[in-house]
Symmetry: C2
Subunit: 429 residues, 2 copies
C-alpha cells in the first residue's frame, strides 16, 4: 500500500503557515480535551486540531474497517494496536479529505464546527497510556562523555557498549505531556569528599535531549522479533526530555542503575509523528565499529532518520537561549536494533510502550544533549543572554526541545517538548 | 474501624482443611476465569473460589458503598483504588457471610451454585494490571553475597546500601501468574577469559525468592509520602519469583543495571493477601547499622512481617527438593521505607503498582534466596534426591515458592508461586 498521505505536492484547504511543523504531509496523532471537557483522539494541520472521534462519527472514515469508538478514547493504545495497515488507511483518508480540492468537509460549515478546533481552544493530553518505558543509551558520544566524567578515561565506554544497545527500564507513571511543570526533586546527595549523604534539593537538574518511539503489540512473551521485521512494529516518534538529577543519580546508581535521579519526570511532545511521515527522511546510521552478533545485523543500512533537534532555555525575562543543536541521525544503534535486542530474550512489548533513544549528543560541543556535557560537569558554565550562567538549570527556567525534518519539498516537525522548573515541593501544614 | 475479619476464633461453613493457607481469616483477593469464560474478581476460602462479582450482584455487599461493576473486572486496580476503608468493609462482610452460624448464603443453594466454585473448576489470572514494577534490593545478606561474587570483597556492599533502600525499575509486561511456563532466555554472554560476547541460551537460569507489595494510589507527581504514612497505601502482598539469567545480567548490567537478564519473566502468586490479614504477624526488622536520614526514620519498629518462605525444585520424576528456607523478616529496609524513598523525589505511585523486596536471603547458607548464592556461583552445586546436581536450573525443572505466617491460633498463607522451565524458544519455519 502506498503512503499516499506523503505526497509532497498536496496542499490543504486549511491554512498552513510556511515552515509549519504540521503541513498536510505530517498528520500526527495525539489526544486532546476541548473546552467542553470532551476528550478525543485527534490530528493536527497547521494551527488546527482535528477531532477524529467526530470525524469518524460523521462518516469521513466510511469504508475503512474501524470500531465505532476507536477515536473517542483518552489514549491511542487501541488505534496503535490495529497495526500499520490501519494507520496508513487512516492517514491517507485524512490527507484526502483535507486536500485543497476536496469540498466534502470544506464546504460543510456545520461539520467543520464540530470537527475542527483552533489549537488555542484545546489542551493536549498524554497521547498514550505507556505500559512500559525503556530508555536506551545509544549515542556513542553521550556514553563516552558521561563515562569520562563519572568513571574516568579508562572506563569511559564500557566493554559491552559496542556489542549491544545498552538499555534499562524507566518509570512510566511520571511521563508527562509537554507543558507540565517539573518540581525540582529532593534526594540523597553525597557531598564532595564526604562518605555520608545529605538530603536536599538537587543542585544539578539536567535535561536529556532524546527522541522516543512508540510500539504496537510486538510479540508474545518468549518470542524474539528478528531485527529486519522490527520496523513493522514501530508506530511513530516523539521528542523526549528525560529530566535527570545528576547528584542524586551519581550516589544511587551503582550497582542497579539510575532510579530517583530520573524517575521524578520525563516530558514528551504531544503529537506522535508516524514512521510513515518520517519515511522521506531516512538516512544511514554511523558505521559499526565492531560487527555485532547476527541477531543485531540489519540488512537495511538507511535505518536512521535525519531529525534536527534544538534545545533552548527560556528565562523568566522571555529570552530564548539556544544551548544545543543536535540530530537523531547520530545514534549508533537503530530503533530496529533496539527492539530486536529488547525482545531477544523473549521480553514482550505491547501497544503504547515507549522506548527512549538515550541522550542524543553529536560530535561537537554545541551538539551535546545534556547540561552535564555542555557545561562539562559544571567546569564550563554556559553564559545566557541576560548575563547569568548555567551549569545546570535554575528554578524558573523553561527547557524547550524542538525537532523537525526538512527537505527541498516538505517540512515535518514534532512541535515542542517543554517544561518549566518549579521550586522543590513544600508540604502544606 | 476494627479488622473484624481477623477474629481467630471464627470458623466458616465452607470446609477448610487444617493447615490450609486460606482459612476464613485470610480472605485474599484475586482474579479468575470460570469454565464459562466469565472473568471476575474473587476471594478464596479453603479449596473454594468465591465469585465476588456474583456475590455483589446478589446483594451480599448491600450497605457498603461500592460501584455496581467493581468486582466484575479483569483486574483489582479499581477496587484497590477505593482505599483501605473499602478493603476492610469488604473483608469484614465476607467473613460475616461465610461464618459458620450465618445461614443467609449457606442455606441458599441457588446462590451457592452461582457464587462458589471448586478451585479446580477455575483458572487464576494476573490479579492486577501492573502499571510500574520496582524491584528493591533490601536484604543485606543477599546484597553482600552477590557483591562478593560479582565485585569481590572490597566492593561487596556498596557505600550507598546502608543509607537507602536501593531499587531499580523492572518490566511490567512480563509479570506472569503462577503456573505460566518460563522459556529459557537467550542473550549475549561473555565467555570466561574472552573479550567478545557469544549468543546463546543462558547457562545460569536462576530464581530470586522475593515478596512484593501492591499499592493503592499513593500521591500526585511531585509530592513525597512521609515514611510514617506509607503503610496506609499498601494493599497487600504476594510471593514473587524474579527469574534471572546471571550470565546475561553480568555482561550487560554496568552501568545502567539489569535489563535482559531479568525482564524475560517474573512470576507472582495469584492471591493478594491483604496487609490487614498480615497484621497479627508483625515483627521487628533488623536494627539499622547506620542511622538513616530523617525521611527514612520510621517511628514504628515492628514494621516487618514474619512470613516463612520455602523454595522447592520439582524434577520431572515428581520429586520435591527443598532448596531454601528463609523469611521476609530478614529484610533490612521496611516496605514503608521503600515507599518513602521511592516518592521522596516526587515520583508518583499508582493503584496496582508492584514493588519487589529484592531477593530474600537469611544469614545461613540454607536460607539464601537464589541459586547463585545457594551454589555459591556454581562452585558448590546442590545435589537433588534423584542424584543429579544443580548450580542453576535445568529445562524441565519446576520452581515453587511457598509462603505462610503462623501463630498458635491461625495460619495465613500465600499459596504457591510456581513456574516450569521450558527450552529456549524456536521460531516456526
Amino acid at each position: 500500500m502506498q503512503i499516499l498521505a506523503n505526497n509532497p505536492n498536496r496542499k490543504s484547504w486549511l491554512k498552513v503557515d510556511k515552515g509549519s511543523d504540521f503541513p498536510i504531509q505530517n498528520i500526527p496523532f495525539g489526544v486532546f480535551i476541548t473546552k467542553d471537557d470532551i476528550i478525543t483522539i485527534g490530528t493536527r494541520i497547521g494551527e488546527y486540531a482535528i477531532d477524529l472521534g467526530a470525524f469518524h462519527q460523521l462518516g469521513y472514515f466510511n469504508g475503512i474497517p474501524l470500531t465505532d469508538d476507536l477515536f473517542m478514547q483518552d489514549s491511542l493504545n487501541d488505534f496503535i494496536s490495529d497495526g500499520r495497515k490501519t494507520w496508513r488507511l487512516v492517514r491517507n483518508r485524512i490527507a484526502e479529505v483535507f486536500e485543497a480540492g476536496n469540498s466534502t468537509l470544506r464546504d460543510n460549515q456545520k461539520h467543520r464546527e464540530i470537527i475542527i478546533f483552533d489549537m488555542d481552544e484545546i489542551e493536549m493530553l498524554l497521547p498514550v497510556n505507556v505500559g512500559d518505558y525503556t530508555d536506551f543509551y545509544s549515542s556513542k558520544e553521550h556514553a563516552t562523555n558521561v563515562g569520562l566524567m563519572f568513571r574516568g578515561k579508562d572506563n569511559a565506554l564500557m566493554p559491552n557498549w559496542l556489542h549491544m544497545p545498552v538499555g534499562y527500564h524507566g518509570r512510566s507513571s511520571s511521563i508527562v505531556v509537554s507543558g507540565t511543570p517539573i518540581h525540582r526533586p529532593c534526594g540523597q546527595i553525597l557531598p564532595s569528599g564526604s562518605s555520608s549523604p545529605v538530603f536536599g534539593p538537587t543542585q544539578s537538574l539536567d535535561m536529556e535531549i532524546e527522541m522516543a518511539f512508540i510500539t504496537t503489540d510486538v510479540n508474545n512473551l518468549g518470542e524474539p522479533i528478528p531485527v529486519d521485521e522490527a520496523e513493522e512494529y514501530i508506530f511513530g516518534m516523539v521528542l523526549f526530555n528525560d529530566w535527570s538529577a545528576r547528584d542524586i543519580q551519581k550516589w544511587e546508581y551503582v550497582p542497579l542503575g539510575p532510579f530517583l535521579g530520573k524517575n521524578f519526570a520525563s516530558t514528551i511532545s504531544p503529537w506522535i509523528v508516524t514512521m510513515d511521515a518520517l519515511e522521506p527522511f531516512r538516512c544511514e546510521s554511523p558505521k559499526k565499529e565492531i560487527e555485532p552478533l547476527p541477531y543485531l545485523q540489519q540488512k537495511r543500512t538507511n535505518n536512521s532518520f535525519d531529525v534536527k533537534l534544538q534545545a533552548v532555555i527560556k528565562t523568566n525575562n522571555g529570552d530564548e537561549n539556544l544551548i544545543s543543536e543536535t540530530n537523531f541521525k547520530h545514534m549508533y544503534w537503530s530503533m530496529s536494533q533496539q527492539l530486536a535486542h529488547h525482545t531477544v530474550n523473549g521480553c514482550n512489548v505491547r501497544s503504547g510502550d515507549l522506548m527512549g533513544s538515550g541522550t542524543i549528543s553529536g560530535p561537537t560541543k554545541n551538539s551535546y544533549g545534556s547540561m552535564l556535557e555542555l557545561s562539562w560537569g559544571g567546569k564550563e558554565p554556559l553564559t545566557l543572554k541576560d548575563g547569568t550562567t548555567r551549569s545546570f538549570f535554575n528554578d524558573g527556567d523553561t527547557v524547550v526541545i524542538r525537532g523537525y525534518c526538512e527537505n527541498e519539498k516538505v517540512n515535518i516537525g514534532f512541535g515542542t517538548c517543554s517544561g518549566k522548573i518549579s521550586p522543590p515541593f513544600k508540604r502544606k501544614k
